[in-house]
């Protein structure tokens, strides 16, 4: 029983790191501009397809492909921000919600037309690592490594660069930041781009171990919302912690009860956090 528990917990935590990266994108956008990005799911799916296309058509190693995928995510974010978000950034939240929902529908529609909804699979087997009674697919280990690298890079950017400082300043108080001469529009666009970049990278990491379709981003978007609330809205480190909590739960709960109970426990915890600690485990931004 203990072996099964540890195996399940390990699988869950490894997955949790990737959930964390996906949620970091969402929480960054919320933290800086208080926009709930409903196009997060399709961007994750596009990250999956970008990695897949680079691997199958250009033969690029899927882990190396994450660099161009990140660039693609960044540029896509600029595009979405400029086309749909910028003009409604100061409007009531419902406007930005609807704008990103429209982008979500457009991306899914275009993605379905181009890629159909047939499941795709990156056939890049790396085998499994056997550690005692644990069998861990190497793809999941690498994805965890990738997630940690991305988190470290994001932290370095936010806390060790001047631009990162500007992003934090805008997140803290946009008007005050503008008064200090920070070009808030540029910072907002950059933040949105970084958020979608993280989503695309998370998609690329997930694609290395799960088959996917253009609709696959939806469940990760939903998980990202739960994670953001768990970790604290707008707090990237909280998102990573929230991801680990969610992944751990997804690993542990099925060891004791049928898997259909997982969402009950997850969303039960979600409600509990909202009631008891509405600012999340690590506090909001």
């Amino acid at each position: 029983m203990l072996e099964r528990l540890l195996a399940s917990l390990t699988d869950g935590l490894l997955l949790g790191f990737v959930y964390g990266v996906a949620a970091m994108g969402l929480t960054l956008i919320w933290g800086v501009m208080t926009v709930i990005n409903l196009a997060h799911g399709p961007v994750i799916a596009l990250g999956m397809f970008a990695t897949y296309l680079l691997f199958t058509h250009l033969g690029i190693n899927p882990y190396l492909a994450l660099a161009p995928v990140a660039l693609f995510g960044l540029l896509l974010g600029f595009l979405i921000y400029g086309a749909a978000v910028h003009r409604v950034i100061n409007a009531p939240h419902l406007s930005s919600l609807l704008a990103t929902f429209a982008v979500n529908m457009i991306l899914i529609g275009v993605g379905t037309a181009i890629f159909s909804t047939s499941p795709q699979n990156i056939d890049f087997p790396l085998g499994s690592l056997k550690i005692g009674f644990l069998t861990i697919p190497v793809t999941r280990l690498l994805a965890t490594g990738g997630a940690l690298l991305v988190t470290a890079a994001l932290y370095l950017f936010l806390y060790a660069t001047r631009t990162g400082k500007a992003v934090r300043a805008v997140a803290n108080n946009r008007r005050a930041a503008e008064l200090m001469g920070i070009p808030s529009s540029l910072v907002l666009a950059l933040s949105f781009g970084l958020g979608t970049m993280l989503a695309a990278v998370a998609g690329g990491l997930i694609a290395t171990f799960f088959p996917f379709t253009i609709l696959s981003g939806g469940p990760y978007e939903l998980k990202s919302f739960v994670i953001c609330v768990l970790g604290g809205l707008g707090n990237p480190l909280g998102a990573l912690l929230g991801g680990l909590v969610l992944g751990g739960l997804e690993g542990l709960v099925p060891a004791f009860m049928p898997v259909s109970w997982v969402p009950v426990v997850e969303f039960g915890l979600f409600v509990l956090v909202l009631l008891v600690r509405p600012r999340g485990l690590l506090g909001a931004k």
């Binding site: 099964r4 997955l15 909804t117 997804e250 049928p258």
Partner: protein, 420 residues
Amino acid sequence: MQPWKWYPFILLAVLGLLLPGAASSASAAEKTVVIGFTASRTGKLNVEGLRQINGVNLWIEQVNAAGGVKLADGTQVKFVAKDYDDESKKERVQELYTKLINTDKAVFLISPYSSGLTDAAAVIAQQYNKIMITVGAASDSTYKKGFTLVYQAYTPASRYLTGALDLLGIQAPAAKKVAIVHETDKFSSDVVNALKAYGESKGYQIALFEGYDSGAADFAPFINKIPADVDAVMGGGHYADTSTFAKQLFEKGAKAKMVALLVAPPEPKFAELGDAACGVIGASQWQPQAKYSPEAAKKAGLEWFGIPLADFVKNYQAKYQEEPSYHSAGGYVAGLVLEYAVKKSGSTDTAKVKEVLDEMNLLTFYGHLKFDNTPKTHGLQVGHEMVYTQWQKDQQGKLVNQVVWPEAAQTAKAILYFPR
């Protein structure tokens, strides 16, 4: 007004009188019958759904190229397909089938792909007095609801995976423990409930019996729960989830004598999983290697109808540049059944076609087809049998899908050890 100014009106009036006559004389000789269906062109069922549409379209092309079907009054019937994308969503199906009947004037219906969608569509067919041939809809329960116009071309779910246990019993008589992990939709639940009952009746211990939601992507929690000494892992659901499950069984180093899964393994696309596909057994309604022929029909005392199996495979490959799967054959055979019934009844009238279908007992390239005509389970398929396939490597190391059961259709002996 000058008299010549009336000429255009007179001309139009004359044409108006003449044209309907011309049209009716043409329609007396030839009639186009609309066959309506919804198709999962998008959504989670689109791999199976698209192959099914390909099959239907190939049949329509061929039957029309052969001049169509002649009715008792001499009318030559040609067929045309009218379909809508149901997006693999149940809630779209009823609205679209009503539209097919009322707006598009569909005379016959073919089911959508999957038992869940078909269950919703069958209600509309019955309500509007239209015959529906169901394919890709194996669940038994649809045919226990009192429908009288719904006919199933697939082997029912209750007999879907039981043959794999027979195979296990023969090739590994010491096997005792079976783990069943399945999608919780209607079709998969029907299959595994029947499988569980059958397994227990044969003395197997069902060590794990657990369901997952449609759209599940992470199967590690289930795989961790499978006992290490299990002899067989069975279940799955539809293509997307089952192929993911197979991949993760391999990655997590699961070991069993047999891994037998639903729907995905017979699809040629399953080979894209590479080594994870090797050794996986699949339950198939039909395989290109099957041996159904006019001679086999004669031997079995059955009527033969339709094209030879080799012709179907050849024509399908020529049209779609891919090997047909059982979903493709299912789509074709739905049309073939309608063709047979219209031809034999000499009519497109629902009651007359129904009479023929109730008594139909024939062999086609797809196998034996006979419908239950008792009120309790009307329309349930009672003639057709499953075949079981296994992905094995040939001498060049290339993955090949072999028929491993029943023995009469075997192209290779099953290798009972996973992973290979």
